[in-house]
């Protein structure tokens, strides 16, 4: 009796101290994430400008959509915004898709036993370690229309006869962005898939091998279903990352309208055009799109996050 009273007192003391330990982190998180998010959403209903952030009027939904003298105005009817939405979604689907396929190939390779495996793993970590801006510039130089090494190589082999203006032409600019992103983030995908592969039980592979089942069939019937949960997590992480892409596009294709992502569009309104209200409206829409996608994937994918990962 005395024992249990003492231990419940101990538990209560521990819970109290837990909140004490949590509070500094929660305060900082509220300051740098919660408050700015609330303010951004608030600004999206105002006509604030960057030059004077304290003087603004509340204008309702006018930043999103407004009917004024026979014309519609606002983010929702801006073709540039929809272009940015299309660009972002196209980029996300294509790049994450390619990263998944290439990441799977690299992970399966790394999962095999061969001399020099550690070196290969080290080599694929290099693209991941290089800062995004640096990779954008490195590729920008390789993709240069006149002096780029890629054009030189492709023309040397005879694949193309004319130099291609990879980053400047609207037809290829988004592909160039995809190329760099795939190069940079495939290692991350590969490492996540590799971690999942290494947790698989080896006995069913033994059985499959003894029965002489085709390795490709084993991959689709055994491996893929078993690593599906890990794949889902990797895809969600990457997709959410891709949806907010900013730096790669900003540097590689220098703020062009043809390749602008949602983040690039929002920042341009906000900083370059100084329209904090309008830019915040675009940011808020991006936030809502991402929040919606998180909720949908959590429900559809039945991926459990949060409570007791073990």
């Amino acid at each position: 009796m005395a024992m249990s009273a003492k231990s419940s007192e101990l538990t209560r003391a521990r819970v109290r101290s837990a909140w004490l330990f949590l509070s500094p982190m929660l305060v900082v998180l509220a300051l740098v994430a919660g408050w700015p998010l609330v303010r951004t959403i608030y600004f999206s209903f105002t006509d604030a400008t960057l030059s004077n952030l304290s003087d603004y009027d509340f204008i309702g939904f006018a930043n999103f959509i407004e009917y004024y003298e026979g014309e519609w105005y606002g983010v929702i009817v801006d073709p540039d915004w929809w272009r940015a939405v299309y660009n972002t979604i196209w980029f996300t689907v294509v790049s994450v898709g390619l990263e998944l396929i290439l990441g799977m190939i690299v992970a399966l390779t790394l999962n095999a036993a061969f001399p020099g495996r550690g070196m290969l793993r080290a080599a694929i970590l290099i693209p991941w370690a290089i800062p995004t801006i640096v990779s954008a510039q490195m590729w920008g130089w390789m993709l240069h229309d006149q002096f780029g090494v890629l054009n030189a190589i492709l023309m040397g082999i005879g694949i193309i006869s004319q130099p291609v203006a990879w980053t400047a032409s609207p037809d290829t600019a988004l592909w160039a962005v995809v190329m760099v992103d795939v190069w940079k983030t495939t290692p991350f995908m590969a490492l996540l898939i590799l971690a999942a592969l290494q947790m698989l039980p080896s006995d069913c592979y033994e059985a499959a091998r003894v029965d002489g089942i085709n390795p490709i069939k084993v991959f689709f019937k055994v491996t893929l279903p078993l690593i599906r949960p890990a794949l889902m997590v990797a895809i969600i992480f990457r997709a959410l990352d891709a949806l907010r892409i900013f730096d790669l596009i900003y540097v590689l294709t220098s703020n062009s309208r043809d390749t602008a992502s949602m983040s690039v569009y929002a920042r341009q309104q906000l900083v370059d055009f100084q329209q904090v209200g309008y830019g915040s409206a675009a940011s808020t829409l991006l936030f809502l799109i991402i929040a919606l996608l998180i909720i949908v994937t959590l429900m559809v994918g039945r991926v459990r996050l949060g409570e007791d990962p073990r």
Binding site: M25, A123, I130, F246, G306
Partner: protein, 276 residues
């Protein structure tokens, strides 16, 4: 069952292709950075010139040394603050059961998925209000939104895996929670903290959007912004040699760091994602 020769050859060909794909751009950046003047336009894949002129001009043409120092100051401060806040929070989240813990973890995880742009105007107002616009403090503050959530998340995962008996004996002996965290967990958490610290360092070192928006003068820029905004003699002529030299200068330390701590980084990356 022996593997036929063509399967073996194909496998090694695949490995060679992966290695070339992974390291060629960095290799080519190094080769280009060592070419100066007209040699830069050779577009040969082989190193045919060794000149440090680009490196000299990067450091003399603009305050690039200062930019590197800025990045180091910001990244180190962000890592230190994130780790301190992360360890204390991870103790509470990983070792104590209390109501609302799952919801809290979910909130922290969702913050790490925030698009940076979604907080940009609010953060701008905050930075102005604190009077830290165009100073490194603005970057230290804003970078916390990127590093803190995953630091807490990864450290919590590590903290959970330590045996339960660890703190119980200490608590029965009447040790305070602070003593338990600093004397018992901290020594055991070092490996995890090195991993998370490295990941946070890389995130802060690479951050671009906030650094581009919250700094104005060349002296206050961090490395990514400095490299993105390097300009040549005219607006239409980008100084590619200088850009490559600057890129190689800031990338070599990170690559060396990553290669040294390879195993830790891989375990940290996968702990953050797979177990989550």
């Amino acid at each position: 069952m022996r593997t036929p020769w063509y399967a073996k050859a194909g496998f090694w060909l695949l490995i060679v292709a992966i290695v070339i794909f992974a390291i060629f751009p960095f290799y080519y950046a190094i080769v280009s950075s060592l070419r100066s003047g007209q040699a830069l336009f050779s577009s040969s894949v082989w190193p045919d010139s060794v000149s440090i002129a680009n490196y000299v001009s990067v450091f003399t043409g603009q305050p690039f040394g200062r930019n590197i120092l800025n990045s180091v100051v910001v990244a180190v401060s962000v890592v230190a603050i994130s780790l301190f806040l992360g360890v204390t929070a991870a103790y509470a989240l990983g070792r104590v059961t209390f109501r609302g813990r799952g919801l809290l973890l979910l909130t922290i995880l969702s913050v790490s998925m925030f698009p940076q742009v979604a907080v940009l105007s609010g953060m701008f107002e905050l930075v102005r209000a604190f009077g830290i616009y165009n100073s490194l403090w603005s970057l230290i503050l804003s970078n916390m939104i990127l590093t803190l959530p995953f630091t807490v998340w990864v450290l919590t995962t590590f903290m959970r895996e330590l045996p339960k008996e660890l703190e119980e004996a200490a608590f029965v002996d009447g040790a305070s929670p602070w003593v338990v965290v600093s004397r018992i967990f901290l020594p055991l958490m070092w490996p995890a903290m090195v991993t998370t610290g490295l990941l946070a360092f890389i995130v802060a070192w690479n951050e671009f959007l906030f650094a581009l928006t919250f700094t104005l003068s060349t002296e206050q820029r961090t490395v990514p912004v400095a490299i993105a905004l390097l300009t040549g003699a005219t607006q239409f002529e980008l100084p590619w040699g200088n850009i490559m030299a600057a890129s190689v200068t800031v990338t070599v330390p990170v690559v060396v760091l990553v290669l040294i701590f390879q195993r830790r980084i891989v375990s940290g990356l996968t702990a953050g994602a797979v177990k989550g």
